[in-house]
């Protein structure tokens, strides 16, 4: 206010007409908007509760403790029809996370490969990458999912003609069956060994970096880390008397029994989301690399840095700053698109929630849970990516 009073406009203001003060007018507008919004929400809430009462539908979240009564095709946690509705939702939630995380990782890898491929000097690679992007980017994701699902189902053989893969794995139209590890006592030491190996690897690579900075000598980081990560758990495995055994799938009456199975529903959804999203990521990567000024790589070349190193140490770190923000929104899209799972019968959050909605009629409660969960997933993804972005940002000196 004191500043206002000293500015010329403050002096010239005709006294009395507060309404002409842009600041006060702003506050009034905001207050009115807020009031209208609150009134609207209140009206919707009142109307809803009244209509629910009229339709004789109970409300509240108490139903989540009821017995679900239905089975779910694939679950990461113990679940049966005796479990509660709440647990069925958790099963769906984990299935959503599973396909989202697997999809994000794969889409990123394919996307980076294709994106870099589009910039390749090799004509064939560049054109193939372009065709890939144009095809997948221009098909609605639901079609891509159906394509994979009917493709996967049509190509894979009936259970009686299962195709045997190495390591006692089998594939047929009921999915990919693989040996299920059974952990006996003693296997906790193997986990411990793995943890030690991870910590050791981190410490070693820090040390190696420091040493290189000080002396210019490079140590064999890759081999040491690989040796630690594989060797240490393996050694412990034999030392503790091989406490892990495997439940191997064998032919049963209808299908293979035993082992673990990843159903065609997961496989096709995962493949579809990965390939679809990868086409967008590829374009983002291409734009990111293109966005790094040519002078940067020329300067690196002039200093005698080899092309591979130039890409890795000069171009990519700068490109990452351009890539990460749009990449985040692709990750969010993939997570949200995973709700198309319902079309092919993968039991994700929307699918199990929908079943519960139908059995209990608690539409508003279920929809609110969906909204909160997807919002939380999206916000956490954004948070992680923002943190990563900050880490990648140019350190200005």
């Amino acid at each position: 206010m004191s500043i206002d009073a000293t500015t010329p406009s403050g002096k010239d203001k005709p006294a009395g007409s507060i309404l002409n003060d842009p600041k006060i007018r702003g506050i009034i507008y905001q207050a009115v908007t807020l009031l209208l919004l609150v009134a609207f929400i209140y009206w919707v809430a009142m109307n809803t509760s009244e209509n629910l009462k009229r339709a004789n539908i109970a409300s509240g979240y108490g139903f989540l403790n009821g017995r679900a009564g239905f089975d779910v095709g694939q679950s990461l946690i113990a679940y049966s029809s005796d479990s509660t509705y709440g647990r069925a939702l958790v099963v769906g939630f984990f299935n959503t996370i599973l396909v989202a995380v697997a999809g994000i990782i794969t889409a990123t890898i394919i996307g980076f490969l294709v994106g870099i491929g589009r910039l390749s000097k090799n004509w064939l690679i560049a054109k193939l990458s372009m065709v890939y992007v144009e095809v997948f980017r221009n098909i609605p994701p639901l079609l891509v999912i159906f394509f994979w699902y009917s493709g996967v189902l049509a190509v894979l053989p009936q259970p009686k003609e299962s195709v045997a893969l190495p390591l006692n794995m089998y594939i047929n139209n009921r999915g990919l069956a693989f040996p299920k590890p059974i952990f006996d006592s003693g296997s906790q030491f193997i986990l411990l060994a793995l943890v030690i190996a991870v910590i050791g690897s981190i410490l070693f690579s820090r040390y190696a970096n420091k040493k290189q900075a000080e002396t210019g000598q490079r140590m064999p980081v890759l081999w040491t880390v690989l040796g630690l990560l594989i060797g240490l758990p393996l050694l412990t495995y034999f030392a503790t008397g091989m406490p892990i055994s495997f439940d191997v799938p064998v032919a049963g009456k209808f299908n293979l029994t035993g082992g673990s199975v990843v159903g065609p529903e997961f496989l096709s959804l995962f493949l579809a989301l990965s390939f679809y999203t990868a086409s967008f990521i590829a374009e983002i990567v291409r734009a990111g690399i293109r966005g790094v000024s040519h002078g940067q790589s020329e300067a690196a070349h002039a200093l005698g840095v080899r092309p591979g190193l130039t890409t890795r140490l000069v171009v990519v770190p700068q490109a990452m700053r351009i890539i990460i923000p749009p990449l985040t929104s692709q990750y969010l899209n993939l997570t949200k698109n995973s709700s198309l799972a319902i079309a092919i019968g993968y039991s994700d959050l929307v699918s199990t929630g929908g079943t519960i909605l139908n059995q209990t009629g608690q539409a508003i409660e279920i929809v609110s849970i969906w909204i909160v969960v997807y919002l939380t997933l999206s916000l956490s993804t954004s948070l992680i990516m923002n943190w990563f972005n900050a880490k990648m940002a140019l350190v200005e000196r």
Binding site: G73, S150, Q158, K253, I366, V367
Partner: protein, 341 residues
């Protein structure tokens, strides 16, 4: 994004925002609109399916037509809303449809917690299993380890879980939302078993690539009394929908058919006279909020219960379902109508 969420949201929104108009009676609304909005299947041959030019026909469709005939004297004054197993309840709750005539099982949960009313059972059904003949399975008790295709949002998926649990059998459920998706998955060999109401199995088998390669197992694992459903809170409407069914059954009982209904008006039998609304000073229809000849209009439009059954799903149709439990009470079945008096 997810159409699913969208439909649910719209359902929720309709409940929240739409609404005030529903203060009038459903009958009043229907008359004002000039047509009946009837919730049916998305396409189950024999029960409700559209032909190439979009005309619906089937057992459930005839109930829509019968209700429209009772109100307007014109069975064509119906608009159909195809609903999947999952969408049907929000559609009725939100007022999108006036009545649900869609092989829907009457259960206590739907009758109470979901806010609906059921009364007449127009088809006594039970859940069954269909398998490929090549599997050499003779009984559902041999199904341990099988992959079972089932549609979500049904009593079917609940009975399935209970049956396998009670008999200590393992199975792998493959659950879809849309009927076509279940059909396609079963046909593609994704599942060993298809389970739903037996009536549904008869109908679905005909749509498979090679119907003769499949058989329906003898076990019936549940009671599925199917009938029309309405929203709670409008007794007049509930009465109309109920009595349309009782009129169909009553007509069969009296031997009144689509062909002879005009003739029958001249019958000397006072029961028939009252039923057809020709008794002097009768209020047999006006008490329902309809005209006194409401039953005549229904029978002229679709025939009696037996005719509706035979034409759509019985001996006169490709489904060839026996009357069984759905025969009249006087012929060894349990279809029975209260007296019109």
């Amino acid at each position: 994004m997810a159409k699913r969420i969208l439909t649910a949201l719209i359902g929720a929104a309709v409940m929240g925002i739409g609404a005030q108009a529903a203060s009038a009676t459903t009958l009043g609304d229907v008359k004002a609109k000039g047509f009946l909005q009837c919730g049916v299947n998305t396409g189950l041959t024999g029960f409700a399916s559209p032909d190439a030019s979009g005309n619906w026909s089937g057992f459930d469709v005839d109930y829509c037509k019968a209700i429209a005939a009772a109100i307007f004297g014109d069975p064509t004054k119906v608009k159909y809303t195809p609903t999947s197993a999952k969408d049907r309840f929000p559609a009725l709750q939100s007022g999108e449809v006036d009545v649900l005539a869609r092989n829907t099982t009457w259960t206590i949960n739907r009758d109470t917690a979901l806010g609906f009313n059921f009364r007449p059972v127009n088809y006594y059904d039970g859940q069954g299993f269909m398998v490929r003949k090549s599997l050499n399975v003779k009984s559902a008790l041999e199904l341990s380890g099988a992959a079972v295709c089932v549609q979500t949002g049904t009593t079917t998926e609940l009975n399935l879980a209970d049956y396998f649990k009670a008999n200590n059998l393992q199975y792998n459920p493959v659950v879809f939302e849309k009927l076509e998706e279940v059909n396609a998955a079963y046909d593609a060999g994704r599942c060993d078993v298809y389970t739903t109401d037996q009536s549904g199995l008869y109908s679905l088998r005909l749509t498979l690539a090679a119907p003769d390669d499949h058989m329906i197992l003898p076990e019936i694992i549940s009671k599925e009394p199917l009938g029309p459903a309405v929203r709670q809170g409008d007794d007049q409407w509930f009465d109309i929908v109920s009595w349309v069914h009782y009129a169909l059954v009553g007509a069969e009982d009296f031997g009144i058919t689509q062909a002879n209904v005009e003739e029958m008006k001249k019958s000397a039998n006072p029961d028939i006279q009252r039923f057809l609304g020709v008794e002097a000073d009768t209020k047999i229809g006006t008490d329902l909020g309809l005209e006194n000849d409401w039953a005549v209009k229904i029978i002229k439009a679709v025939g009696n219960y037996g005719e509706v059954f035979d034409r759509n799903i019985g001996t006169g149709s490709p489904l060839k379902i026996e009357r069984g439990l759905n025969a009249l009470w006087s012929k060894g079945g349990i279809q029975y109508a209260p007296p019109v008096r």
